[in-house]
């Protein structure tokens, strides 16, 4: 069943439909949160908040683009948390600081942490979403950029990541 057709069932609080939705897009939702927050614990919390919000507010969704609507909620919630954290805690983002100091969890793999460190925000988002199962076309619609740009940016980002990882391996 397509995501857009799940929307009405979720709006009627159909738990099976909601579970189906969760299974289909949890990776994409998490990827959006992680690309903004760069922290697994915060990303997990906001991803859960996103699903709760979807459960509560699906009746307000109309038309097409359910996935984009959900990812936008995830992004907005992530940005809000980031702003809140910035107000509450000042962190020194100096260049020499190890990534572990602002990603406080050590559950993420070396590859994923490198992706967070080496890439800019849009590159992170594209790489993580691409590897969470989203098509280039869907990412293009979500980010409001051309599909071709998604493809080339993804390739360049992967290349960047590859070089970064090779560089880290050499230094190690």
């Amino acid at each position: 069943m397509s995501l857009d057709s799940l929307a009405s069932r979720v709006a009627r609080h159909d738990e099976h439909a909601f579970e189906e939705l969760y299974n289909k897009i949890r990776q994409a939702v998490y990827s959006v949160c992680l690309s903004v927050l760069k922290n697994h614990t915060s990303a997990e919390e906001i991803a859960q908040d996103t699903f709760v919000a979807v459960w509560t507010h699906s009746s307000e969704f109309k038309g097409k683009g359910y996935k984009t609507w959900i990812l936008t909620i995830a992004k907005n919630k992530s940005l809000n948390l980031l702003k809140k954290q910035a107000r509450e805690v000042s962190v020194d983002f100096s260049e020499n600081e190890d990534i572990a100091s602002y990603t406080t969890d050590f559950e993420l793999s070396f590859t994923l942490r490198s992706a967070l460190e080496a890439l800019d925000e849009q590159e992170r988002e594209i790489v993580l979403l691409r590897n969470s199962g989203m098509k280039a076309k869907e990412i293009a619609i979500y980010l409001s950029i051309p599909r071709g740009t998604v493809s080339w940016k993804y390739k360049e980002a992967l290349e960047k990541l590859k070089k970064y990882l090779e560089g880290r391996n050499e230094r190690a």
Partner: protein
């Protein structure tokens, strides 16, 4: 580290990290609902109206109604007169094996397929309410139409036996069914044999030692042959009817196992094919990128050559027309024109390469989606067609040679993958489709008429009865190949 490896790691990691527990989300969502409800109660006529309370009442009412309905149904069932008791059943085994139940008047009450071929035979057939005579006539004609009986073969045979509901042999009915089938062979002038049991001395002897009859023992052997398990202690207590059911179930299980095995082989081929395709396309995209970088770099060098040196204004051309000027100026003009032409060619090449890269990209996306939906064939067809076009690209020979070698490897894998898909399709085809396919395959078969049908029955009966199960195996294999001709 290769790009694909990085992607694989990222995919696995995101999949694991994003599994934050649906149950927890559901609990939070419900807690949120409750909080919202308490915050904004809906009032109806001055009384607080609890949505959840109302829902609970509705559920309880519905449950009560259901229990009541079930109770009424149960009472009525017990009050109703007992359903018509079938007097027994007979089984006909051609290879389609069918169990037909009949009542005390010999009227058919039920027809049950005991194997896949029987399911095909029974498509669009309703034998309930028919006499045994009519049922046998209908089944016989259908067997001819589907190619289960054919005058081109000398192994048309039916085994039949009837059993009462008490589990005793119904010899009268057995003989009647035998007579009806023999009569059909005679009417159609088709050579065929009808037997009422397997007659094999060795089999008889072992059956006798075990204290069971030969027919039951033959069925037990069939069941064990299919990988079924049955303790010797149970040989006596298991009924013929149960054995037929067990054989039918075992056949379905075996088919599931075979399908799973072929699916696994197909998936393995599919993975190999994906891997090969992704690697080839990735290499191709890298190559295109490198070629593009070369072209752009050459173009920049060409532009430098095209600039005329400052302060060195060329002398006017006395001839006053567009002929190529002589000397260094002429050489420079040649280089500029060449550079412009090269620039145009480069533009075309850049455009073409970018088109190819974009198309390959799109096909990769399609492959990724297809991988998830198990619908890979159309995606493979598309990408192989594109690679085939590229391998014949005269203008971009370096690309073409890279693609050619990749295509050879991929095409071999693709053929193997298609074979597995075809095998699976054959196994998953429905009884209705097989019915249609067999009707189509045998519709123009002409049937030779024989005058010695009765003699044939007499001469061949004991031979067929003693080698029934071996003959059946061969017959089964032959039928599987009918639709491949």
């Amino acid at each position: 580290m290769k790009g694909r490896k990085i992607e694989k790691q990222l995919k696995n990691e995101i999949s694991t990290a994003s599994d934050f527990g649906f149950q927890e989300i559901m609990e939070r969502a419900h807690a949120n609902d409750d909080a919202l409800l308490e915050a904004v109660p809906v009032t109806v006529e001055g009384k607080a109206y609890n949505h959840r309370g109302s829902a609970l009442k509705t559920i309880l009412f519905a449950l009560g109604a259901l229990i009541l309905a079930f109770a009424i149904f149960w009472i009525l069932q017990n009050e109703e007169p007992a359903p018509t008791r079938s007097a027994g059943y007979f089984v006909i085994d051609i290879n389609p094996s069918i169990k037909l139940s009949y009542n005390q008047d010999g009227i058919i009450t039920d027809a049950q397929a005991l194997n896949e071929d029987a399911s095909v035979l029974l498509v669009d057939l309703d034998l309930s309410g028919k006499s045994a005579d009519d049922a046998v006539s209908i089944l016989f004609d259908k067997c001819v139409a589907l190619g289960y009986f054919s005058s081109e073969r000398d192994n048309n045979a039916v085994m039949t036996s009837a059993t009462t509901d008490n589990g005793e042999s119904d010899e009268e009915m057995t003989n009647e069914i035998k007579r009806l089938f023999s009569s059909q062979f005679s009417k159609k002038k088709m050579r065929g044999v009808v037997i009422t049991g397997v007659q094999n001395a060795e089999l008889d002897a072992t059956a006798s030692e075990l204290g069971i009859d030969s027919q039951k023992y033959a069925l037990i052997l069939s069941y064990l042959d299919m990988g079924g398990e049955l303790d010797t202690e149970r040989y006596d207590e298991v009924s013929i009817s149960e054995l037929y059911e067990m054989i039918s179930e075992r056949e379905k299980e075996q088919k599931k196992e075979d399908i799973a095995k072929i699916e696994s082989e197909r998936d393995s081929k599919q993975s190999e094919l994906f891997e090969a395709l992704f690697n080839s396309v990735e290499a191709l995209i890298d190559k295109i990128q490198a070629e593009l970088d070369n072209i752009i770099s050459e173009e920049q060098q060409g532009q430098n050559i095209g600039e005329s040196p400052k302060g060195n204004e060329p002398p006017p051309n006395d001839k006053g027309h567009d002929d190529r000027p002589n000397g260094a100026l002429g050489d420079m003009m040649d280089k500029i024109h060449g550079s412009i032409e090269k620039g145009q060619q480069n533009d075309n090449t850049i455009t073409r390469y970018k088109e190819i890269a974009t198309k390959l990209d799109e096909y990769i996306d399609t492959l990724e989606i297809a991988k998830k939906s198990n619908d890979c064939k159309s995606a493979f067809d598309g990408i192989l067609k594109l690679l085939d076009e590229l391998s014949k690209d005269e203008e971009h020979k370096s690309l073409a040679s890279l693609v050619s070698s990749a295509v050879v490897e991929i095409e071999t894998l693709y053929e193997e993958f298609l074979e597995k898909c075809a095998e699976l399709n054959e196994m998953n085809v429905s009884a209705e489709q097989v019915n249609l396919d067999r009707l189509d395959a045998f519709k123009n078969v002409s049937h030779e008429k024989y005058d010695d049908v009765d003699k044939w029955q007499v001469e061949k009966e004991s031979e067929i009865a003693s080698s029934w199960y071996e003959m059946k195996k061969q017959w089964n294999n032959d039928r599987k190949n009918d639709l491949k001709k």
